[in-house]
């Protein structure tokens, strides 16, 4: 990591914010993940958790075990030490999505807004390989980048009060998956019949930042078939 592009800031009594001024890229996310893994290994005793984001990371620590000044010094050292971005094989998850108008409630508006046919929206969305940039907003909500530029759109001015679980939305250059029913302002283009967050599983969310996701367009009847047995549906992936 380049030294002059990284900033450390005391956030509150128990957390340090680390921010990168680099351009958002998959390379940056991968190096934040490697850095996070290194911090988790080296600072096990003092760390409560690291929350990574697209160009920043929050380090939450136990203030009874270390003070912020010492911690920042260690974090700085770790950031400059020559760690290697782990060349772990990446998973590409295949997510079934039904782009039927009854699920994709904003397909028509988006088609008008961006002067693009609904078929083209579906074909662009399901042929893009997305990167899991981060998670947040709701338990298991995935921020995915990046949309084809023809799909670029702002969030809706007025958020919907109840977006259904499994809905796939787009906003700006990202796609997102709603893991539970929720209000939200993303433009909804389809719905997946599978379950994205299972609190009783060892890993409640199937994917993690750094993974990749590809949407696979399915018919309404396939949607119904998968939904009937959603609890036993195994999300398929390939290793890259």
């Amino acid at each position: 990591m380049k030294k002059n592009n990284i900033f450390f800031k005391v956030f509150n009594e128990e957390s340090i914010l680390i921010q990168w001024n680099d351009k958002v890229s998959i390379k940056l996310i991968d190096s934040i993940i490697s850095y996070k893994n290194l911090i988790e290994k080296e600072l096990k005793e003092t760390l409560i958790e690291c929350v990574q984001s697209i160009n920043s990371m929050m380090v939450i620590y136990n203030p009874n075990k270390i003070n912020s000044k010492d911690l920042i010094n260690i974090l700085k050292k770790l950031s400059t030490s020559a760690f290697i971005v782990t060349k772990k094989k990446k998973k590409i998850w295949s997510i079934p999505v039904c782009y039927d108008i009854s699920f994709g409630i904003d397909l028509k508006d988006l088609s008008t807004l961006n002067n693009i046919s609904i078929d083209e929206i579906i074909s662009l969305h399901s042929s893009t390989t997305y990167n899991v940039l981060s998670m947040g907003f709701l338990p298991g909500f995935l921020y995915l980048g990046m949309n084809h530029k023809k799909l670029y759109c702002e969030r809706k001015d007025k958020p919907e009060l109840n977006i259904k679980s499994g809905s796939i939305g787009i906003a700006r250059d990202q796609s997102g998956i709603y893991p539970q029913d929720s209000p939200g302002g993303w433009r909804i283009i389809g719905r997946s019949p599978i379950s994205f967050f299972n609190v009783d599983d060892k890993s409640p969310c199937f994917a993690e930042p750094g993974d990749k996701i590809k949407f696979q367009s399915i018919s309404l009847s396939d949607f119904n078939k998968i939904e009937k047995n959603r609890s036993s549906y195994d999300i398929k992936y390939k290793l890259l």
């Binding site: 956030f11 929350v51 984001s53 697209i54 929050m58 947040g136 609190v199 409640p204």
Partner: protein, 279 residues
């Protein structure tokens, strides 16, 4: 066991929170007023991380199915046991069949009920704190039954009480500069520290402040937030995020409350005013 006869306005089980899952978008949750919750546990000799009941504005009516010890801290909900007034901030012995009444809160918004050994409700992702989508319940409802540990040890000394403990009712709220603070123009900074902000709509996710300030900062790339983060929304209104807040957000983070100010804020309700002070 405790049986819920009346649920009150918004009664939940809380502990010190859920740690290690922010990365997958799970909020920390936990008691809004950590100091009062901790006190409820300490009075009973419990571990401070034991689960307590958090009761909001209007308290519940509860029937005890077993003998135990309890403590009540935080806002004053005029507690009574079998219609006999009881004191807060003091361990109380309750008999099987006793009924505890809690009414409207005064001098604060949230009361805490501690129980000897803590509540034995379901633990999800390392915590018993209620949160929608994580625990089965997001609040208690009538006829719910909550388990607690059987009291096996000999009765504790009953002289342990902290009568002079008062929750912090000052309107001064201490803040640090947030990551986007320096993007504010000097006029906005002045307004932030010289306005008596009125508390608007609020809940465990966040407190809205009514008075708008001029917002010249655009949205940021989605970044981590914490309870106590003060976000500046496009309309110029400030939101103070609380224990159930999301883990990341795209609004500029102009300020960050210190921990003890989070406790005082959580005892304030709609219409009260606060003053932000840089520490």
């Amino acid at each position: 066991m405790i049986k819920v006869l009346k649920e009150g306005l918004f009664t939940t089980i809380q502990d010190i929170g859920r740690f290690g899952y922010k990365n997958i978008g799970v909020p920390v949750s936990g008691s809004m007023d950590q100091t009062s919750a901790k006190l409820a546990n300490l009075l009973l000799g419990n571990d401070e991380s034991s689960a307590v009941l958090e009761m909001t504005l209007v308290g519940p009516t509860l029937e005890f199915m077993n003998d135990t010890y309890i403590s009540i801290t935080g806002a004053d909900m005029n507690p009574s046991l079998n219609k006999q007034k009881v004191l807060q901030n003091k361990p109380l012995f309750v008999n099987k069949g006793d009924i505890l009444y809690l009414s409207h809160s005064s001098n604060g918004m949230r009361s805490y009920l501690g129980i000897k050994g803590g509540f034995n409700s379901e633990k999800k992702l390392g915590s018993k704190s209620f949160y929608r989508g994580i625990t089965k319940r997001e609040k208690l409802i009538k006829n719910d039954k909550i388990k607690f540990a059987k009291v096996t040890s000999s009765p504790m000394k009953m002289n342990k009480s902290i009568n002079d403990f008062k929750i912090n009712r000052k309107n001064k709220i201490n803040v640090f500069k947030g990551p986007e603070f320096d993007l504010l123009d000097s006029n906005s900074k002045d307004i932030i520290f010289n306005t008596d902000f009125t508390i608007g709509v609020n809940n465990r996710m966040g407190y809205n402040l009514v008075e708008p300030i001029e917002n010249s900062i655009s949205s940021i790339i989605s970044s981590p937030v914490m309870p106590g983060t003060v976000q500046l929304t496009p309309s110029g209104r400030l939101i103070i995020l609380c224990r159930d807040c999301q883990t990341s957000g795209g609004y500029p983070r102009v300020l960050q409350l210190d921990k003890s100010s989070m406790d005082s804020l959580s005892q304030k309700t709609i219409g009260e005013t606060i003053k932000l002070k840089l520490v």
